[in-house]
Amino acid sequence: MPATTATRPSDELSRDQRLELFYFARLTRDIEERLALLYRQNKVVGGLYRSLGQEGESVASAYALAENDAVAALIRNLGSVIVQGIRPRAIFAQYMAKGTSPTHGRDLNLHFSHIPNGDDGPIVIGPISTLGDLVPVMAGVGLGARMRRRRLVAMTYIGDGGTSTGAFHEGMNFAAVQKLPLVVIAEDNKYAYSTPVSQQMAIPRIDQRAEAYGIPHEMVDGNDMLAVYDASKRAVDLARQGAGPSLIGVDTMRMRGHAEHDDMRYVSKPLLDAWEARDPITRYRAHLIETEVATETDLVEIEAMSRQYAEDEAGLAEADPGPDPATVADGVVAGGHFQPSVEIVRSPFRVKRGASRHTQPTVVHP
């Protein structure tokens, strides 16, 4: 376990970065609220999987990456790809199965990739539905990076449920043996669909999974954004130094059902209330004011900006056309015309993170 250093990595965050963190968390929530609205309007195709209550950990962990690092999100890690610059419109388009989406309507929600050539932009690897597979795949991204002499770090996420898969085990162990630059955020959000963590694992803390692999691990309060950032940054730094993978357990709570159709009857009200009181965004907001990083006015302004942006982007995506059925068989193997792309955007804070060359954003947030 990495020793807790006296100075925390987050101590080095600039004011803009602190505000940007807040903005990203808000934007994540606003996008999802907008999606929930679209879902109720029957405009979302298929299910909607929310990260309500977990936005903080997805955002803060990914924020520890350099701009050109690689991240792979699961359905509940919208925040991490927003941090890496995926344009919200792409997310809306995905959920509405639009032809303009990063998969041109071929796959759902966060199931898309962005893999720029060379070192000029963030790498986003989309999941497949099968839980666990992203761990070996992201280990492979780390392996590939090492072979290509790129000092990037690969970060991915796994739920409490996902840690029970064989793929998780094989990927973690391989990364450990090969000392790959991989950071795995293991989210104890109390449930896997309806299954409580106690029926998923017989260990008190999710990060203990890492003991089997001999890699550093620590457990953090997942609803404390700066704590998540600190642990993630330490792990990212270790990985970048060639010290191999780490696992960070985050203690958090899934505040909605598995998907919107799930009424969560199996979750007790007191449990939800307790976590409601620990909402990561509310807490971070209060912290920003307490520490005088921002005034109430500053934050209200950011909130308004975020909400408006989410709304605008949703509107754009809504107006987008569906995919052309004539293209359905194209691009199964090389040689087709299917060449989707995702727009990478900069937040209004235009903050630079990490050491790599930075992105040329095609669009800047409003």
């Binding site: 195709v45 199965a97 896997a192 309806s194």
Partner: protein, 324 residues
């Protein structure tokens, strides 16, 4: 008799077998308190308790492995895969351990692996699989897919009573859309028997699952044009009921094999090849396969509609055959 949904029929069949045979138990992800992602096992936990309705970690290989081991001790497990697509995660232990056990040692594994299959609901590339062809090639493993509520109940009961592993495919499009009369009394639909859903002299359509209904829709349209389609619903996909198929082809002399999985290497290949090999003299036209495109299952409704076989395609294929 009451009208019962396909889903309710499966639940009934499972519950009845659990009630009448205490070796039968259910195991899977979220099947207990939650009642399963599609609620097929709803109520079973209350009725049979947590020892016989086991919620597992997200571990398909452990689910099937544990089921196999318990079967060696005399139990009759019914394992649910949340979506049948995840059978890919236990492909090894199912095809290598369960299916080969009897042949190697004489130890049968009376295991049912059930789960929702099929598309048409915008499930995308990982929640729409029709995996029968991946398992047809596995001696020792049976495959079943009902198209009606009556069959769903009779087949799940037969599958549970069977002494060998059975992959039980439940088409999710049918769960709540199909309902029919299901008797109260105990009955089974024996494995290995196809059924003629609609008799006809002109062209045979061999199909199963949700496509049975699509074929019947096409047959209705064609009847208006005086073309008489015989629709065969296979029900059991392994072993195949070649007899019923060949009998029909001997009568109609023209055949379409229709399925929802992708075309190449699909179960339609086996059926068409068998017809060509064993019914050659009866064929007045090439055996035609209609299936989905050779792509992953696309998510958008417009794309998926272009991907799956449609009534229009069936009608066109029949017309082509009639004129042949």
């Amino acid at each position: 008799m009451a009208k019962t949904t396909y889903l309710e029929a499966i639940r009934q069949g499972l519950a009845e077998e659990m009630a009448s045979d205490d070796r039968v138990y259910a195991i899977g992800e979220d099947i207990g308190l939650y009642g399963g992602a599609f609620k097929v096992t709803e109520g079973l936990l209350n009725r049979f308790g947590a020892e016989r309705v086991i919620d597992t970690p997200v571990s398909e290989t452990a689910i099937i492995g544990a089921a196999i081991g318990s079967a060696y001790l005399g139990m009759r497990p019914v394992a649910e895969l949340q979506f049948i697509d995840f059978v890919a995660c236990c492909f090894n232990i199912l095809t290598n351990f369960a299916a080969k056990s009897r042949y190697r040692w004489g130890a049968g594994v009376p295991l049912v692996v059930r789960g929702p299959c099929g598309g048409g609901v915008s499930g995308g590339p990982f929640h729409s699989a029709n995996p029968e062809a991946h398992f047809l090639h596995t001696p020792g493993l049976k495959i079943v897919e009902p198209s009606t509520a009556y069959d769903a109940k009779g087949l799940i009961k037969a599958a549970i009573r069977d002494d060998d592993p059975v992959l039980f495919l439940e088409h999710k499009l049918l769960y709540r859309r199909v309902q029919d009369e299901v008797p109260e009394e105990d009955y089974v639909v024996p494995l290995g028997q196809a059924v003629v859903r609609r008799p006809g002299d002109d062209v045979t359509i061999v199909t199963f699952g949700a496509m049975t209904h699509t074929a019947l829709d096409a047959a209705n349209q064609l009847a208006e044009r005086d073309v008489a389609i015989e629709v065969i619903d296979l029900r059991t996909l392994s072993p195949l009921d070649y007899e019923t198929i060949l009998q029909s082809v001997a009568k109609t002399n023209k055949v379409i094999v229709l399925h929802e999985a992708q075309r190449t290497g699909g179960i339609g290949a086996e059926i068409a090849a068998a017809i060509a090999e064993r019914g050659f003299e009866h064929l007045d036209a090439p055996p035609v396969r209609l299936a989905s495109l050779d792509t992953p299952v696309p998510y958008s409704p417009a794309l998926e509609a272009a991907f799956r076989p449609s009534v229009e395609q069936i009608v066109a294929a029949v017309e082509h055959l009639v004129e042949y």
